[in-house]
Symmetry: C2
Subunit: 350 residues, 2 copies
DNA sequence: AATTCACATGTCACCGGTGACATGACGAGT
DNA sequence: ACTCGTCATGTCACCGGTGACATGTGAATT
């Protein structure tokens, strides 16, 4: 593994000159440059970016920590950050935080010890105050979920309004018993969506019974259980607002006639039959904004930025919301939104 | 940003002693240790892992380069590597290689300059010979796709056998005109799958006409076009072997009655109606094996390992393969494998 | 001829831990 | 009392580039 000094010795110059050649310093004689370059090639020299990085005190790496890279939502965020970083010749250190909130701190601190230029975090725990000391030294930007117990840049979506709109959409289709599906209330995203759901019911003059709210519905088994409960109520639910794509995907294999709106679009949501009506988010934009904020903070340490940016979400209306079936009158005409009949959908693939 | 020497000065000891405390060296007096630890807390000292890393000459990072992290297949590989790395207190540097084969080298070399302990690559270009020099210095392990122009460890799947089985499965259902869908032949994976497909047709005594083979079918538009062509043939195709999940997902919105088998399982493949019969791969296993190989190579520099490991893939039979419809005889009885009728499937969601 | 200056190149310290080796102190064993 | 070993701690160089600053050389300017 040839170092700069090896090249220098071979070319009969000082290591500084090699450094100059490497950084295309204009004050190097063409012939010297040629000689050095030849030697670099011959010794098949590769600069050790660890050394450069170390000396400069900061690695040109943007850390990204998300709950789970396999989730396409977070994967999109990661890819967007990566893309912005690449354009600035920086790289990306990715970590999944997993499910265990107590590990968040360990994972993030280990990432921070590597002296990244900045980090982008979609947190899983309920307290990021431990990042306060770090945020003095490098830009820390939150995506999807705002920081708790800490003031820092964040790019989130309008979860409240999105949930409100989604629930209203179901109400407008005539549903008055609408279930809520989510994983954990401790995640602020879910809390805000629950809040939006409740507000919509209230605005519509409907009661938001707790029995309509099913948490921990992130797996197929638990979603099945939740669904059964919703159906078994004295006044059964006829529709569901699923607060995230994971719950929806868990629900899909078993949800028979029931209207659904989901928070968050996902691959194939438009291909299912019926296709799913969703509140579309834009994870790539979230990632892009976060990455740019890191760069902006780095470039302009003294500039002030708006701390919290909330992106709108919008309703993508597809087929999964229909007027509830009236048991007394099965011939009540076609549902207003379903543009394809059920049998149509059935033949799509075979 | 306090350094070790700051702590040392504050505690009235040498920096080496602080280093010892940090590394829990037993030869430190308890009282000294306490004093140093107190000072570390007071100055809110954080070790600079860049320095340690630099001195040791190798960062405890495993680099992972995949075509696209948003693809759940590659995301699973990444997560598996991450998981193994974490257990060894190493971190993971992730990069997407993207679509452009000419950029592969640049991206990988930039990653390598960071002196990772090893890298895991799912390459996109047709030549990795430039990695030869690097592979002398650190373990380079290929996943999903074998290296080209280079001898290195690889963990792949049995693409040939998988494609053979998948195609045979369609043949056994009575199809004699089976189309092939893929993106690029230059990717060895696709080439092997095409080969398996051809061999199966040949083994079945069917002709593998070039007109049945549609490449570049990775987007919805191109998949639509390919499908139209296959349907418009003098002897139209009645079934399709899709060589990867991306093509399948592109095909889904528009494939009406046509039997499909896909290489690679993906989320929701079992929820679609009809659910998709697939050749299931195990990306997480691939990632796990690759990561362990990196660690093994690191731990046992002199041990010899089997270079190439090929994992089997297996058929997951679902509903998307049916006996071709005989135009002359529509009452030819139920298809042998479809366990749910089409109308059954239709009512699953509403 | 003296002065100035752009240019080509070199010297050296430094970034922050840590390995190799040194030192001093004290208790145990002969 | 002397040697030896263990413990607690210190010194110093080094990992590989690079910034600050110095030096030397020849051409242009006065």
């Amino acid at each position: 593994m040839a170092t700069m000094r090896d090249v220098a010795a071979a070319a009969g110059v000082s290591s500084k000159t090699v450094s100059r050649v490497l950084n295309s310093d204009p004050h190097v004689h063409p012939s010297t440059r040629a000689r050095v370059e030849a030697m670099m090639r011959e010794l098949d020299y590769v600069p050790n970016s660890l050394a450069t990085t170390f000396r400069s005190g900061r690695s040109s790496v943007i850390g990204v920590a998300v709950p789970d890279i396999v989730d396409p939502f977070f994967a999109s965020i990661v890819r967007a950050v990566e893309h912005v970083a690449l354009a600035r010749d920086m790289s990306t250190l990715v970590t999944s935080l997993g499910e265990d909130p107590t590990r968040e701190r360990l994972i993030l601190e280990s990432m921070l010890r590597g002296q990244p230029s900045g980090i982008v975090v979609a947190p899983i725990s309920g307290d990021q105050s431990f990042l306060a000391a770090w945020s003095l030294r490098l830009p820390i930007v939150f995506v999807d979920r705002p920081p708790l117990g800490l003031s820092a840049d964040s790019f989130t979506q309008d979860n409240f309004a999105g949930a409100f709109t989604a629930t209203m959409h179901l109400v407008e289709h005539g549903h008055d018993r609408i279930g809520f599906l989510g994983d954990t209330v401790t995640v602020p995203t879910t809390a805000a969506r629950l809040h939006g759901y409740r507000s919509a019911l209230q605005a519509a003059g409907l009661s938001a019974d707790d029995e309509l709210i099913a948490m921990g519905a992130g797996t197929r088994a638990s979603a099945a259980c939740a669904l059964q409960t919703l159906r078994g109520l004295a006044r059964p639910a006829t529709a569901v607002f699923s607060s995230n794509a994971r719950c929806t995907m868990a629900l899909l294999p078993l949800a028979d006639p029931m209207s659904i709106v989901t928070f968050g679009d996902f691959p194939l949501a438009d291909v299912l039959r019926p296709s799913l009506t969703v509140m579309a988010q834009d994870p790539a934009e979230l990632g892009r904004l976060a990455a740019h904020r890191i760069l902006d903070r780095l470039d302009h340490p003294n500039r002030r930025f708006r701390r919290s940016t909330v992106l709108p979400v919008h309703l993508v209306e597809r087929e999964s919301c229909v007027v509830p079936e009236d048991p007394a009158d099965r011939a009540s005409g076609p549902p207003p939104t379903a543009t394809r009949s059920q049998t149509d959908g059935a033949s799509l693939l075979v």
